[in-house]
């Protein structure tokens, strides 16, 4: 689960009188993740050491002058770059005390912003859409600057991203209610223009956030109605159809945030990683209106992961540098550390493995340890030189099955499981990839032993379960189902297709995600599966002590849940299948008996409540004389 930690104050704010603006123009990372430069909305730039919550230096332009955009730090030259009075570019170093005496250059067109990614070169974006690298601009400051934007088109937001080696400036514009996205690549320069789909009339995006992963730029934007959209643009195809022709930009709805009554005014959404989005200024779904929250949402599962109430007015501003969120609210700028661990459905929904299974796995682990230590004792007599983990990893890539098995087992028996933890994942990945490429190579016992260490989960070796299925190694599948906490539904279903076991019934799942995959089962499979569930059900209804069957059996409710799910997915097919008729009739009678049971329980509940009332109502006055008899 993602979590927001206790925050702390970085500095106080001087917000605008009507609280329309926080007084902060921007926050940029400085030399490392613990230093930031804060630019206020008028004249000053301050350097802070975040963990110390204290300013290290501050620079101010003269009265009457004003800063146009947030100052950036060029980590290559250790210089700060800022723009004042629209056209004056100022560059200074930390040891410069007076900004007025530092370097100044006046350019020929109004600047929108200076951007600089960490370790990269500063880029200047002009108000009319032109882009220049700072160095080339300063070589001839008065060089003519072209106009990219048309009349009445204005920049609303911009950022700078490095995709592999390519530097991009991304900005959005608005023209008569239409919104456009510009993707400007530098060296070689190409420009692509996209048109954003229209939301409800009159609604323009409140905030944008861009990120780069998997050779695509992901743009995330939030509308006042709480809709968060994502558009993905490939960086590969760029440059082929250059031109001012605006392409439509496809979008997908990522989140639909609850906004309560009315529309959002000051809010923003920011990508934290591929699965998490930080949102500020949107009401918390379970808190009342009028409260301002910072929330982390999981976009994969649409779940709220963490929330924190922010005191005072929220301005809809949010920055994020290395697992710290910077958020102005009320009269303070707060820093809130957070974590977003890799998510599995089970943890996102809070449905973790049953305690029963955990007890069992601990037992299995102990047994395993005993086995290992016995092996260790027997191996002690051998005097062959032992290989290191890296050597074993190399060996797996080429050596025959027997050698690999011997060396991996040797490695496992020699070292403590705790020490081995990091390498277990590597070992499995290498073993799996060799097995996938080389059909003759498969080491079932070694894999089983590695899974038994419980240092693994599905995310570490996503191909393992499928490999085991392919090799019809049901024992290994079973082990994986038992020990992995994060098996995706699709894989669970694949296992289900291959074999029907208890372990499947006990894994965590969510109805919505499971249903579409369940539909993939063939009708023969479904009938077989239902028959098995029926058998389990009968077994339980006859026996008053289901616990006697052993620790690994699913509970009665789990069985009923699966019956319902399978029926939901395949009811129409089953009705048409003659073999299923008897089965369906039987299941119908189960349902009837369950309904009867529940209604009887309801009646008992009523009677018990009456009993409770009777006890209370027995009222004795202040005084009575009673006859009692003792025997």
């Amino acid at each position: 689960m993602a979590a927001l930690y206790e925050g702390y104050t970085l500095c106080g704010l001087v917000p605008a009188q009507n609280l329309s603006h926080s007084g902060i123009q921007g926050i940029e990372q400085e030399r490392d993740s613990d230093h930031v430069v804060v630019t206020d909305s008028t004249r000053s730039v301050t350097l802070y050491k975040v963990s110390d919550q204290k300013p290290l230096g501050s620079w101010t332009v003269k009265q009457g002058q004003s800063l146009v955009c947030s100052a950036v730090f060029n980590s290559q030259t250790k210089e700060y770059v800022a723009v004042s009075d629209n056209r004056v570019i100022r560059i200074w170093k930390e040891e410069d005390i007076l900004l007025d005496k530092a370097f100044k250059a006046t350019v020929s067109s109004d600047v929108w912003r200076v951007h600089c990614v960490h370790g990269g070169e500063p880029v200047v974006l002009f108000q009319r859409g032109a882009v220049r690298l700072l160095d080339s601009l300063l070589s001839a400051p008065q060089q003519p600057i072209e106009e990219i934007l048309v009349q009445e088109e204005a920049i609303r937001w911009s950022t700078n991203i490095v995709a592999e080696t390519q530097q991009f400036v991304i900005f959005t514009t608005e023209q008569k209610g239409d919104h456009f996205l510009y993707l400007q690549r530098l060296n070689p320069n190409t420009l692509q223009r996209y048109r954003l789909e229209r939301e409800e009339p009159g609604l323009g995006p409140l905030s944008f956030s861009a990120s780069y992963r998997d050779k695509h730029i992901h743009l995330l934007y939030l509308y006042p109605n709480g809709h968060v959209y994502q558009s993905v643009v490939s960086v590969r195809g760029l440059g082929t159809e250059e031109g001012t022709q605006a392409l439509p930009l496809p979008r997908s709805l990522l989140l639909s945030l609850p906004v309560g009554e009315g529309l959002l005014e000051a809010a923003s959404a920011m990508v934290l990683d591929e699965a998490h989005v930080a949102v500020v200024g949107v009401p918390h779904p379970s808190a009342g209106a009028g409260k301002d929250f910072l929330c982390i949402w999981n976009t994969n599962f649409q779940t709220l992961q963490a929330g924190k109430e922010m005191a005072g007015k929220i301005y809809g501003q949010l920055w994020c540098y290395s697992n710290k969120l910077f958020i102005p609210h009320g009269k303070t700028l707060s820093v809130i550390p957070f974590v977003c661990p890799k998510s599995s459905l089970a943890s996102a929904l809070g449905k973790l493995k049953q305690a029963k299974t955990e007890v069992l796995s601990i037992m299995a682990n102990q047994i395993n340890f005993t086995l290992l230590s016995m092996q260790r004792m027997s191996r002690k007599t051998q005097s062959t030189p032992s290989l290191t983990t890296d050597q074993v990893l190399e060996l797996i890539k080429t050596a025959p099955v027997e050698d690999v098995e011997k060396e991996v087992e040797g490695l496992l028996s020699r070292s403590d499981i705790q020490d081995l933890q990091p390498s277990v994942g590597q070992l499995v990945s290498v073993l799996v990839s060799r097995s996938l490429t080389d059909p003759a190579f498969y080491t079932p016992s070694t894999l089983a032993q590695l899974v038994h260490t419980q240092c693994l989960c599905h995310s570490v070796c996503p191909d393992l379960v499928l490999l085991a299925l392919e090799k019809k190694d049901y024992f290994l599948c079973q082990l994986c189902l038992q020990f992995f906490p994060d098996i995706p539904e699709a894989v669970t279903c694949a296992c289900l297709k291959a074999f029907i076991r208890n372990e499947v019934l006990q894994t965590a799942y969510s109805d919505n995600f499971l249903l579409p995959h369940l539909k993939d089962l063939s009708s023969q499979h479904v009938v077989l599966f239902l028959q098995y569930l029926q058998f389990l059900y009968l077994k339980y209804s006859q026996d008053a002590f289901p616990q006697m069957h052993g620790l690994r059996s699913p509970s009665l409710t789990q069985i009923m849940d699966w019956v319902c799910l399978v029926l939901d997915a395949h009811f129409t097919v089953l009705v048409m299948t003659p073999e299923a008729k008897g089965l369906l009739l039987n299941l119908h009678s189960f349902v009837k008996s369950q309904v009867r049971l529940v209604s009887e329980l309801g009646k008992i509940e009523g009677s018990l409540q009456e009993l409770n009332k009777m006890k209370v109502n027995k009222d004795v006055g202040q005084y009575s004389i009673e006859i009692i008899e003792l025997f």
Binding site: Y623, I625, I628, E629, L630, F631
Partner: protein, 652 residues
């Protein structure tokens, strides 16, 4: 066995007072509890949590904090005075004004040499603890706001003080403040209100833990003065904190009635770094938890709902033992009701006043289970308000109903009551013997001709009463050198014997004809909670705090055969597991084999002619006996006939 007529009296409107403060003495396992009316009670945790001593309250004394120094008990209160208690004579030993306005907190160093006081005027005042008194030593640097809470660092060199909006750390040597820890106010509307640091705890590793009115428990690094962790535990106030002796566990009491436990554990298994992790929440109170004590095995809590709750920590006690069960101590462990059998009168004792009631009368007969028609209703005859500032500590009504007496720590008052038809005359007896000034227990002889009053050093003053006056007769003194007060007195029906029990567990029998000590019962390790002498056999029956029952023959000066048999067989486990003490013993005038006794939730008739219940016997067998046919009953019967239909204050 037989039928009994039970007068079910529910008009004794006793309301215990709220718990304000608590202090646990780990050495003697005594818990001192201060109540809102100024009374201080001592519970003995090593003897079944028995309430062994009660020091009555006083109108002007509002105890805000309690503190043990070795075996001495000190309190500080809103009247601005430090009080040391005389635990032998159950009254304040002396009071010293601190001259700093109301005292909010009092705390002693580990060495037991100094008392630190937190005062309204913003000073921390240091008093030196001397053998016979405490003496003002000096003031620390005066602060702007009042000092609400204090905690000494175990080394005795530093003191943390909780104030408004902040915590100050003082150097105990110089008295200068070394750190200032700012405590954040609540959010929203409470932002404008000062946050009150209700409680602080200073640990050996220089961690400071605070609980405040914004609902936070905060962990601070006392060396650097930085905040390490905030736990928001309630919407309202965190009022009290208590840390276990090994400093691995901490409890916080809130105004929502919850007690929240934190433990110093590593948050990830196998990791070395330990941190304070919120672990358990106990909800045993309906209102504010004002006071807490963390003992070795349990969390003791008390507050506005007046009950004292002992909540065992199940990881510290063996499961399914008496120690592992939750205890709620709701009512005093002594009788506040006195009954004049012959006259059908009841005397109720309140801290502020006495009430004298006449019981009602019934008409006709009924079968078991019936309520009879009440012919005459019970009637309140007298409500007598006490004089002076001190609260009533004991009272007595003579068996004939003609005399009534009460005592405070400073004086005894005796009244003559006269009944003419419907009129009641009450006359205060003036000129009492001067020895009769500070007593712990009062008791009239069965013929109402003498008044016994227990005084200092376990002595008993005997006073003769006649129509006009009362005269001093004698002072009975035990041979032992005990300085403890007598808490139980019993005069035998035949007028020959007087039994006394003191808090040293000694029971003395005096021969009233000779006015001499007759014998001393062998001392048993647990407190006697009730004593009585049988009117015919002159056997003394004693019940102790550990629920043991003894019968001692005054004639032979030895335990009776029945008592030996009972000890040999042992009492039934269910009998021993009861958690309120037997507070009264009486006898059945129709059957000399019957001993009647009761605790808070049951009364029991012990039929000495029947076999004793063995370990496997069903102890609470009344329902079974009722259901089986009469000839079979004898087979199932045993000596303990227990009736749990009533909550019992007194039986006669």
């Amino acid at each position: 066995m037989g039928e009994f007529k039970v007068h079910r009296v529910r008009f004794f409107d006793y309301m215990p007072s709220a718990i304000r403060a608590m202090a646990f003495n780990r050495q003697s396992e005594r818990l001192a509890v201060a109540r809102a009316d100024g009374a201080v009670e001592i519970f003995n945790f090593s003897d079944n949590y028995f309430q062994e001593k009660v020091i009555p309250g006083q109108d002007s004394r509002a105890v805000e904090a309690l503190c043990w120094v070795d075996q001495r008990l000190f309190s500080g209160g809103l009247n601005g005075e430090i009080t040391e208690y005389d635990l032998e004579n159950l009254k304040p030993r002396y009071t010293v004004a601190a001259y700093g306005g109301p005292i909010w907190t009092i705390s002693s160093n580990n060495q037991g040499t100094m008392l630190a006081l937190g005062c309204e005027d913003g000073t921390v005042k240091m008093f030196e603890v001397l053998a016979e008194k405490v003496q003002f030593q000096r003031n620390f640097d005066r602060q702007k706001g009042r000092i609400i809470s204090l905690s000494w660092h175990p080394s005795g060199t530093l003191i943390a003080a909780g104030m408004m909006d902040m915590i100050r750390v003082f150097d105990a040597e110089t008295g200068h403040a070394t750190h200032r820890l700012l405590v954040e106010r609540g959010v929203g509307a409470s932002k404008s209100r000062e946050v009150v640091v209700w409680s602080v705890a200073f640990l050996s590793d220089h961690t400071i833990i605070s609980g405040d009115s914004a609902g936070k428990v905060q962990i601070w690094d006392g060396v650097t003065g930085t905040l390490l962790r905030t736990h928001l535990v309630t919407k309202w106030d965190v009022l009290a904190l208590s840390v276990s002796q090994d400093q691995s566990s901490l409890v916080a009491g809130t105004s929502e009635g919850t007690v929240i436990q934190f433990q110093l554990i590593s948050s990830t298994v196998g990791q070395q770094d330990k941190e304070w992790v919120r672990t358990r929440t106990f909800k045993n109170h309906s209102h504010d938890v004002r006071a807490l004590a963390h003992t070795e095995t349990a969390v003791v809590s008390g507050g506005m709902d007046t009950q004292l709750v002992v909540r065992p920590l199940l990881d510290k006690v063996e499961k399914n033992t008496q120690e592992s069960s939750l205890r709620k101590i709701v009512f005093p462990h002594r009788s506040l009701v006195c009954c004049a059998k012959k006259a059908g009168l009841l005397l109720f004792q309140f801290p502020e006043h006495l009430e004298l009631w006449r019981l009602g009368e019934s008409e006709g007969h009924g079968k078991p289970g019936d309520s009879l028609t009440v012919k005459t209703k019970p009637e309140k005859l007298i409500q007598l308000k006490r004089k002076g500032e001190d609260h009533i500590c004991c009272s007595a009504l003579s068996p004939c109903g003609g005399w009534m007496a009460y005592s405070t720590v400073s004086s005894v008052r005796l009244y003559r009551l006269q009944y003419n038809n419907n009129n009641i005359g009450i006359t205060k007896v003036s000129r009492l013997p001067k020895d009769l000034c500070s007593v712990h227990q009062l008791c009239f002889s069965s013929d109402s001709s003498k008044l016994f009053a227990s005084s200092s050093h376990s002595s008993v003053i005997v006073v003769a009463l006649n129509q006009q006056e009362c005269t001093y007769l004698h002072t009975l003194k035990p041979k032992s050198s005990s300085r403890q007060p007598v808490h139980l007195l019993f005069a035998s029906e035949d007028g020959k014997w007087l039994a006394t029990a003191n808090t040293d567990c000694e029971i003395h029998i005096y021969n009233l004809d000779k006015l001499k000590l007759h014998c001393t019962v062998p001392v048993y390790s647990s407190y006697p909670t009730a004593i009585a002498i049988h009117p015919l056999t002159s056997n003394l029956v004693v019940v102790h705090a550990d629920q043991q029952i003894f019968e001692y023959s005054l004639e032979k000066k030895e335990y009776t055969e029945w008592s030996r048999k009972l000890q040999k067989l042992g009492l039934h486990s269910l009998w021993l597991e009861r958690d309120t003490p037997v507070t009264h013993i009486t006898f059945n005038s129709r059957n000399p084999a019957h001993i009647i006794l009761h605790d808070m939730f049951m009364f029991c008739i012990i039929d000495q002619s029947l076999p004793l219940p063995e370990a496997k016997t069903l102890l609470y067998n009344q329902m079974t006996l009722r259901s089986v046919p009469e000839p079979e009953r004898i087979r199932h019967s045993h000596a303990f006939k227990i009736c749990k239909n009533f909550q019992v204050w007194s039986s006669h």
